[in-house]
């Protein structure tokens, strides 16, 4: 199979380029894209990418495969290859450090803005803050985000204004804490989100939903935040 890999080493290359590799699939098996990257690394050890858990938990190996973002470790080649070809590029919209490795600082800055931790001004109880099963259920579909950045880097609004628009991943996490019955900073959190950029740059095109490797729905979470802002205002 012909695999094209985006190559760029800022210390050596004047501009990014694509390098083609011919990879033989062992026994005709359907490998994950990460397995193929490992095979390519045997051919050329200078090919750089991030990886860690290799089972869709750590979120390290988010890449763009034939135009669609996803985690290389849980994406079968058969799902993304077209006519026996596959193009692997870094996540779009973030600065490239080298080859498939991107600088995630802008993404983490957005995450930091939404205060991704429980805020509760009440005295802590002796053991733990309890939730009813119904209250806990509200966090399903929110807490599972692994911060792989596949969604935010598929979002044009995040490409254009990464310093102001929180992005789908950050907003999913923002709603995760807004929906948490143990959090008491709802007012403060909402006040930080009502400017024209943080939430309202979302145009609802659902690229984020389309690419999330965990099957989450940031667009729905953003809708919930809008509704909370509306209820608070009228």
């Amino acid at each position: 199979m012909e695999i094209s890999v985006y190559r760029y080493d800022p210390e050596k290359d004047k501009a990014p380029y694509t390098q083609a590799f011919e990879v033989d699939m062992p026994d005709g098996r359907d490998l994950m894209v990460l397995d193929v990257l490992e095979l390519i690394k045997e051919i050329d050890p200078t090919v750089s990418y991030r990886r860690s858990c290799r089972e869709g938990v750590c979120g390290s190996d988010g890449v763009n495969m034939n135009g669609k973002n996803g985690l290389a470790c849980i994406t079968p080649i058969s799902d993304v290859a077209k006519r026996g070809k596959l193009s692997i590029k870094p996540l779009p919209g973030l600065p490239v450090i080298r080859d498939l490795v991107v600088d995630m600082e802008q993404f983490y800055d957005s995450y930091k803005k939404i205060q991704p931790y429980l805020i509760n001004k009440d005295m802590p109880p002796e053991q733990e803050r309890l939730q009813s099963p119904e209250e806990r259920e509200k966090l399903d579909g929110l807490y599972e985000c692994i911060l792989c950045a596949c969604c935010s880097t598929a979002c044009p609004s995040f490409w254009w204004n990464p310093d102001k628009f929180i992005g789908p991943s950050g907003l999913l996490q923002a709603y995760r804490f807004l929906a948490d019955s143990r959090d008491t900073a709802t007012e403060e959190r909402l006040a930080n989100l009502e400017d024209p950029f943080s939430v309202f740059r979302c145009r609802g095109i659902m690229n984020c939903v389309n690419v999330c490797p965990k099957g989450l729905n940031p667009t729905r979470a953003i809708g919930h935040i809008r509704n909370m802002l509306l209820k608070r205002a009228v």
Partner: protein, 122 residues
């Protein structure tokens, strides 16, 4: 660096509500206008003039015009702050965006003044 100073209401939620409410006004106006065109039984100058001489239609038209302008400003501001950026336009991006925004405001202001003149002029 883009700030929110030039946005319609300087508040995302207000802009969001304004855009939705004005969209409903424009949708209602479109239905009324289409309904008139389909049921007027002809489209002569006199019939058209008589329809627009009614006070309710003049008020509704002005409301639709103001809605168009508010709706357009929110949208055009969003487009300007999305696409007119240093990445594409270099260091002149800020100046270009200012010219674009002033151009949009002036055009929309002209539409309102012109519309009032058409509706209530001689």
């Amino acid at each position: 660096m883009v700030t929110q100073v030039t946005s319609f209401s300087r508040n995302g939620l207000s802009d969001f509500i304004v855009q939705r409410v004005t969209a409903y006004v424009l949708a209602a106006y479109t239905v009324v206008l289409l309904g008139f065109i389909l049921t007027a039984g002809g489209m002569t100058y006199d019939i058209w003039r008589e329809f627009f001489n009614q006070t309710w239609m003049q008020v509704f038209t002005l409301l639709a015009l103001l809605s168009t302008c508010a709706h357009a400003w929110v949208g055009m501001w969003t487009i300007g702050t999305d696409y007119i950026r240093e990445h594409y336009f270099g260091e002149s991006a800020d100046a270009f965006r200012l010219v674009y925004q002033v151009g949009c405001v002036l055009a929309l202001a002209c539409y309102i003044i012109w519309g009032v003149q058409i509706l209530w002029g001689s």
